[in-house]
């Protein structure tokens, strides 16, 4: 029985880049979001996410538990330096499905038809952004995709990164006018790291496999989270929100076309 391997994977799930890091980044980002979007006071900001998690646990612990485990599973797939999981074991699709499942757990918990429709559209666009580079590169390993520097694939990578970033505010429920329902909010606390970290893993070159690299990765992840928050604020404050989903869909369509073209060119050259 490979106890060592099991132990390492348990560490990855619980500590790094698992639940502990997820909560740390989540509480930080959620606090920032509550200041920027929900206009909560700076003092109350750090406690808002904790309260949301506690309420969530009290109201319906099974979905929150499921969400936490799925978020941890998604986090283990990130190209974070010093990840106990070997690069060969990581899979972008595992992370994507785990995140999507966690999000739908939250949405199912406090269901609102408009919110669900918007979430579906934006998740579809987000998936396009995630998988288009993978389809062209024929790999689902995050670190490999992050390291892609083939000139023919760079436009697609850039466009996908842009789409990914554009989708984040809606996926994180930062665009909605009212504060998201408890279920969604509680799960959102858990998804900051997996969502933003996945973007960093896929669209930025992999960091060195040491402490500095880890800090750089976490900083980049928080940076992406702050950009998402800023974008969310911008969308909330302006009229862009009314056409936001349409814009995302058009951009996703464009990414798909570019992906098809790039794939055709790549295979023709090969």
């Amino acid at each position: 029985m490979p106890w060592a391997a099991i132990g390492l994977h348990l560490v990855a799930l619980v500590l790094y880049p698992g639940l502990v890091l997820i909560l740390a980044v989540g509480i930080l980002a959620e606090g920032a979001a509550s200041v920027a979007v929900d206009t909560a006071g700076l003092r109350a900001a750090p406690f808002a996410p904790v309260r949301r998690l506690r309420d969530g646990a009290a109201r319906a612990w099974p979905p929150l538990l499921g969400g936490a485990l799925l978020a941890a599973l998604a986090a283990t797939q990130l190209a974070v330096p010093a990840n106990p999981l070997s690069p060969l074991e990581r899979n972008l699709l595992v992370a994507a499905v785990a995140i999507a499942t966690a999000m739908w757990l939250g949405l199912g918990w406090a269901w609102s038809p408009p919110g669900a429709r918007a979430a579906l559209v934006v998740q579809a666009c987000w998936l396009v952004a995630l998988l288009s580079p993978a389809v062209v590169s024929e790999t689902l390993r995050p670190q490999v995709l992050g390291a892609v520097t083939v000139p023919a694939q760079l436009p697609l990578k850039a466009l996908s990164g842009l789409l990914y970033l554009f989708c984040l505010p809606a996926i994180l429920q930062l665009v909605d006018e009212p504060v998201p329902a408890t279920g969604v909010a509680a799960v959102r606390v858990l998804l900051w790291l997996p969502l933003c970290g996945l973007g960093v893993s896929l669209f930025l070159p992999p960091a060195s496999d040491d402490a500095v690299g880890s800090l750089r990765f976490i900083a980049s992840t928080i940076g992406v989270a702050l950009i998402a928050i800023a974008l969310g604020v911008a969308l909330t404050k302006t009229d862009l929100r009314s056409i936001y989903l349409r814009l995302a869909s058009v951009l996703a369509g464009g990414v798909l076309v570019v992906a098809a073209f790039t794939a055709a060119v790549t295979s023709a050259v090969a």
Partner: protein, 581 residues
């Protein structure tokens, strides 16, 4: 020994059916339990004889010619996998669904026929087995409820006749339809097209709503869901065998692409219908089509990994077929878990098979990769539909059929356990079966080189690791399940703490808020009204009055039979002129 290996699993079920019938005759209501026990015993016997027999090919040819073909039975890794795929859901349904002794007897016989169908040593014998199985399932369906059984019969008869014709085409081209002896060149594109049509009709994997979903519109689910459990795997079996006939490949790469495209569109169609379901039963009705669509995409890829993914897909579809009818109508944790499994939530076996299928599609080529992308979209939509389905009213609640909490828990646990032990299932069942039909001898084109475990399984076989990605099923899914169990055990403490720290707050609302009316669909299926409109148009279609008499056989018969037979003379004269000109 060979005969025992081949016939024991089916014999156990047949004997139990006879016992159940006898119990019914003497008024003992124990038939259901006898057949259920026999189904599990049959599964155990299958495993025992397979392992005891060294997991090699076993053929039985007694030299008897019955039904115009020499009797020939065969058991190999493919047969075993598909027999498991038939027996697991059959055993679950026979155990946890309520049946009268007579219904249980017919169901047991149908399951035995399905096993024998899979053991047919030639395509002709498979067709004969399918005919018998189909007939028994029809008897079961019709006995339970007449509505809907005739369309089912129609579709299955078309599939059966097409299969018979395929056997005929193979015998015409290669002189035999015996699996082990069909010349590689015998399976040409026309014959394969007929076979594929038979397979997709039998398995009900089409972009439109098929008999598989329709079976869920019946008042009682017992017969319909058993039909799904027995016949859907047989449809896939035909496509997998086709690889064996062509030494690891289908007659043309276009055929692979078309089948894969049908699979992905079928998956998308099922997901679209699932998210628009008005009842929980409507959602569950699309669970098998969704999984079948993905499995069809994988089987159409024509690569070793694709085939392994397809075989895993068949196994996961069989678990879903056994689970979906047992989902309880409430909104408790068991129901949540049971609804999450068919949607492909990690870390179940359904998730593992979907993951393998998408990876296989990604590695198969550009077009296949985009088809894989469509399947991921269907997967996402399925997850959304599952989240919505939790809040849907369960139609079966009206009829007093509330599934089985124990049954769905057991099945969900099996699904999760198989997900954790994914590599074990892949190594023990899927890879040997794929290697059986995709021989390692290098052949040109797809499938070259055959199936290699090292290309699919990671180090120590603790995870799946292919060229495009990996999944540590044992090392990640195991600890996740462990953590979940720990958390579930600690839940009361957590709840107590939460309650203590939020005393100042208003009393908490119930865990899940009742929503009336049920949630609206995420979007209206684009082509939903088309079939109904077409059916309405066909119903309303009338010939112009002046032409109707031409198409009324009764009038023409009256003219021919009742009048003085001048028409006879006239027809004779006309025919004479026709042949003498």
């Amino acid at each position: 020994m060979a005969l025992a290996t081949l016939l024991l699993p089916a014999a156990v079920l047949a004997v139990s059916a006879a016992l159940s019938w006898g119990a019914d005759a003497v008024g003992l209501a124990v038939g259901r339990y006898i057949v259920a026990a026999a189904a599990w015993l049959s599964l155990a016997v299958l495993a025992a004889v397979w392992l005891a027999g060294g997991r090699g090919l076993v053929e039985f040819t007694p030299g008897i010619t019955t039904a115009v073909a020499p009797l020939r039975l065969r058991m190999d890794a493919v047969v075993v996998l598909f027999q498991v795929a038939v027996l697991v859901p059959a055993a679950l349904l026979l155990t946890f669904q309520s049946r009268s002794s007579r219904e249980a007897a017919i169901a047991g016989l149908a399951a035995a026929a399905a096993l024998l169908c899979l053991e047919g040593g030639s395509l002709l014998w498979t067709a004969i087995g399918l005919g018998v199985c189909m007939s028994l399932v029809l008897i079961d369906l019709h006995r339970e409820e007449q509505r809907g059984s005739v369309p089912f019969w129609g579709v299955q008869t078309i599939a059966w006749l097409l299969l018979v014709w395929t056997a005929v085409l193979l015998e015409a081209a290669g002189g035999t339809s015996v699996f082990g002896a069909i010349p590689v060149t015998a399976l040409r594109l026309p014959a394969f097209a007929v076979l594929a049509a038979a397979a997709v009709l039998c398995a009900g994997v089409l972009p439109v709503r098929t008999w598989v979903s329709e079976a869920w519109t019946r008042r009682r689910l017992e017969a319909g869901t058993l039909a799904i459990a027995l016949l859907v795997p047989i449809g896939f079996y035909l496509l997998v065998r086709a690889y064996g006939m062509g030494a690891g490949q289908w007659p043309a790469s276009q055929a692979n692409l078309v089948v894969a495209a049908i699979g992905s569109t079928a998956a998308v169609g099922a997901a679209v219908r699932a998210q628009a379901a008005t009842t929980r039963r409507g959602f569950l009705a699309e669970a098998v089509p969704l999984g079948s669509g993905v499995a069809l995409l994988a089987v159409g890829l024509g690569t070793p990994l694709g085939l392994v993914a397809a075989l895993m897909g068949v196994l996961s579809v069989s678990i879903v077929a056994g689970l979906a009818p047992l989902v309880p109508s409430d909104r408790g944790p068991v129901a949540l878990l049971a609804i999450a499994v068919p949607a492909g939530a990690p870390p179940t076996v359904v998730f593992g098979s979907l993951l393998l299928s998408v990876q296989a599609a990604l590695e198969a080529g550009v077009v296949q990769a985009f088809l894989g992308l469509a399947v991921v979209a269907a997967w996402l939509l399925g997850l959304a539909a599952a989240a919505r389905a939790v809040r849907l009213r369960d139609a079966s609640a009206d009829t007093g059929l509330n599934g089985s909490r124990v049954g769905s828990l057991v099945t969900a646990v099996v699904a999760v356990a198989a997900g954790v032990g994914l590599t074990l299932v892949v190594a023990l069942l899927a890879i040997p079966a794929a290697a059986e039909v995709m021989p390692p001898t290098p052949v040109q084109g797809q499938g070259a080189g055959g199936v290699s475990p090292s290309a699919i399984l990671g180090a120590g076989s603790l995870g799946v690791s292919t060229a495009s990605g990996g999944w540590s099923s044992a090392l990640l899914a195991g600890p996740i399940v462990l953590l979940a169990l720990v958390a579930v055990a600690a839940a009361p403490l957590l709840r107590w703490h939460a309650a203590r720290t939020s005393v100042a707050e208003a009393p908490l609302a119930p865990a899940i808020v009742e929503l009336e009316p049920p949630p609206a669909p995420l979007f209206t299926p684009p082509l939903a009204p088309v079939p109904a409109r077409a059916a309405g148009w066909l119903k309303a279609f009338r010939l112009p009055a002046q032409y109707r008499s031409l198409f009324r056989p009764a009038l023409m018969e009256a003219a021919v039979a009742r009048s003085k037979p001048w028409l006879w003379v006239a027809v004779t004269v006309v025919l004479t002129i026709a042949v003498t000109r």
